[in-house]
Every structure is written in C-alpha cells, then in structure tokens.
Subunit: 78 residues, 7 copies
Amino acid sequence: MVNGIDRPLDLLNSAKGKEILVQLKSGKQFVGTLLAFDIHINVVLEGAKEVENGEQTTSYGLTFLRGDTIVFISPSAN
Amino acid sequence: MVNGIDRPLDLLNSAKGKEILVQLKSGKQFVGTLLAFDIHINVVLEGAKEVENGEQTTSYGLTFLRGDTIVFISPSAN
Amino acid sequence: MVNGIDRPLDLLNSAKGKEILVQLKSGKQFVGTLLAFDIHINVVLEGAKEVENGEQTTSYGLTFLRGDTIVFISPSAN
Amino acid sequence: MVNGIDRPLDLLNSAKGKEILVQLKSGKQFVGTLLAFDIHINVVLEGAKEVENGEQTTSYGLTFLRGDTIVFISPSAN
Amino acid sequence: MVNGIDRPLDLLNSAKGKEILVQLKSGKQFVGTLLAFDIHINVVLEGAKEVENGEQTTSYGLTFLRGDTIVFISPSAN
Amino acid sequence: MVNGIDRPLDLLNSAKGKEILVQLKSGKQFVGTLLAFDIHINVVLEGAKEVENGEQTTSYGLTFLRGDTIVFISPSAN
Amino acid sequence: MVNGIDRPLDLLNSAKGKEILVQLKSGKQFVGTLLAFDIHINVVLEGAKEVENGEQTTSYGLTFLRGDTIVFISPSAN
C-alpha cells in the first residue's frame, strides 16, 4: 500500500508541483501542474491544457478550476 | 447479518486496502484498492482502472474521486 | 396507522435486518438487506442486487449507496 | 383563508394520517397516507402507490421518500 | 419605487392572502393564494391550480411547494 | 477601474433602483428595476419582463427571483 | 513554480484588475476585467463580453456572475 495517504486530500498534497489530470463533469479533461487546492477541491493548475479524446486542444496557462465541477484527479506520473 | 457494520462508513473502513468497485453518476465505473475516504465520501484508489461495459478501458493509477459524483461503492471480494 | 413511526428515519430503523427496495435517481433499483443508514440516508445493503424492469441483473454483495442518489426506500415485506 | 397554517410545515402537520399526493422531480407521483415528515421534507407514506397519467401502477406499502426529490405535496381531500 | 421592500422576502410577506404565480424549474406554473412561506422559499398555496401554456389544467387545492423547485414568484395583481 | 466595488454584492447594491438584466439557468432572461437582494442572490424586480431572443414576451410586474436559478446579473445602463 | 499561490483564491486575488476568461457550466464563456470575487467564487467583471466559439457575441459591461455556474477561470495574460 502507498505510504502516507491516510485521508483523500493527502494525495492532492503529495501531488503539489507535479502534473495532474483533472476530469470535469462536462466530460472535458485538463492537465497541468498542481499549484494549490482547498477543502472544496478548488484547484489551481499552471500550464493548464484542455484535453479531448486524448489530444490537447487549448492552452489556458494558470487556471482556477471550481471543485464542484470535478469528477476525479489523478497525478500523471503514478 | 454482517458483524461490525453499525454505520454506513463502517463498510468503507473495513474495505481499506481491498479492491472496491465505484459507480459514478456519469455511468462510468472504477475499480481499485481503497486507500482513504472521508465523510464527503471522497475516496482515493490505488491502481484505479475505468470500467465500461465490464471491460477495463483506462488505467489511472492513484486517483482521487470526488464524493458527490459517486452513486455506490461495493468491495469486490464480498 | 402504523405504530412507532413518528419521524421518517424510524421507518429505516425498523427495517434494519430486513430486505428493502431502493429507487435511485438514475432510474435503477436495488434490493438487499438493510444493515446500516445515517442521517444523509447513506445506506449499506447486504446481498445487494440491481433490478431493471423487475429483473435482477447484477449482484454486488455488500454495497454502500450514497444518500443523495436515492429517491425512495421501501421495505419489501410490507 | 385557511386557519392554522402560518408556516409551510403546518400544512404537512395537519395532513398526518390523511391521504396525500406527492409529485417527484422525476415526473412520477405517489399517493399514500402521510405518517411522518421532517424539516428536509423527507416523508413516510403508508400504502404508497405510484401514479402515472392518473393511474396507479405499483404498490409499495410503507415507503420513505427523500425530500430533495419532491416538487409538491397536496392533501387529497382538500 | 415600491415602498416597504427592503429584502426579497418582504415581497412574499406582502403577498400573503393574495393570488400569486409560481414558476417551477420543470417548466410548470402554479397559481393560488399564498398562505405561508419560509426562508427556504417553501410555500403553501390555497386553491392551487397548475397552469400550462396559460391554461389551468389541474386543481390541487391546498398545496405545499418545495422551495428548491421554484424559479420565480409573482403576485398576480401587481 | 470602477470605484467602490470591492465585493461582488457591491455591484448589486449600487444597482438598486436601476434597471438590470438577469440571466436564468433555464436560458430565459428578465429585465426590471432592482428593488432588493440578499446574500443568496434572491432578487426582487419591479416591472419585471421576460425576454427571449431580445424581445420582451411577458410582463410580470413585481417578481421574486430565486438566487439559485441565476447565472448572471448586469445593470442595463453601464 | 509560480510564486505566491498557496491557496486557489490567491490566483483570483492576483488577477484583480486584469482580464480573465470565465467558463460557465452552460458552455458559454465570458471575458472581462476582474473587479471583485468572494469565497463562493461570485465574480464581478468590468467590460464583460460573452464569447461563443472564440467570437465575442454580446457586451454586458459591468456584470455579476454567480459562482455556482462557473467551471473555471483563467487570467488571459498568462
């Protein structure tokens, strides 16, 4: 088992500064470097890029994603 | 009757470290090892894989699933 | 009138250990033995089976159902 | 004006033990005898029957209806 | 400007005992006499009638409308 | 930059007594004079008129709009 | 990594007075100068313009956007 993940937010904390994949309820996905998050799962990505069907379609740079639109978050490198 | 499940979260607690199936409101399912959960039913899966029509389609590794997108959770081995 | 049901949760309390029918917002139904519930109407079923058009389609065993996906709950034996 | 209804829940309180009609967000309606309700508008009906297009289609007996799925409630006899 | 409406609920308070129009999120409208409301905008109408395309289709009498299904409320006589 | 708008509600406060445009989640728009609002963004309009495709279709007079149905609010005169 | 963004709202704070892009759940986008925001992610834009398919379609001037309709916010200049 992975060490140090006792609570769900521990995974987000360990992913700070790393690239993550964010799935939105609308069906779209974002990739980018996780800079910050809070208990509402609001997140800020650096170098955010929208992904559709596996292809990056739009670059947004620094982006604030509202937590209630998020389905799941996965660090890319695991 | 199953011993030791007095409250709904007791089932999730007893499933830590075991494989679970998670049904999302979008219709998709995830399987993976339950590492952590909280009272919002946010969960972290290790070795998360998306399942569609009974087939595993995408591997995400460590994944944070937001609780309000979840319909049900079932430990696979019961 | 039925005795002992002063508050809605009293019905769920009296149904512990009995088979119940759970209607989800997605249109699906589950049947199973009610083991536990909480004030969010999160429930745990033992021997949970999905029902579509009156036929049991999938067995899930022990299952946690998130309260905010539930429309109604009816003990089967009444 | 009707006496004794100063707050919305007063109507539900005066309807205890009487037949009510419950409209759900899904478009379905239930009729049954109101046994209990709470501030979330969770209700318990005795002799609950589903109604579609004015016809009773399914009998559920004692049924717990989750408040956030309800559009309106009307006592049948008024 | 209309006197005495400093807060939104002041309008509902001044409409007690008068006929109001209630627009629901489902697209349906109700007319009836406002008997009671609370801070959730739950309302009770006397002589409630459903309106579709400007025509009254169904009479419900005393009716409790759940606040979270309401889009707007307009006193008919203004 | 516009003076005096430190918090979002400051804009609504400065728009009291003026005509505003309200966009609803249903796709409909209302115009009318803003009389009152609260922290839920419930608003009361005087002389409320529904607008579809830029044309005013229905007059409602004094109208209470529930905050959770609102997408945006714009004072017409700016 | 970008300095000074420890919490998600820090990005919005640093974007005050700058042009931002706001994605709504309805699929529409707004651009405008961020004047104010709060913890609900309600925002006020100056010179707000609606954008569809990359083209600015409607100018609204000063506009209050309700937080729960927002998917993401991205400062344009990053």
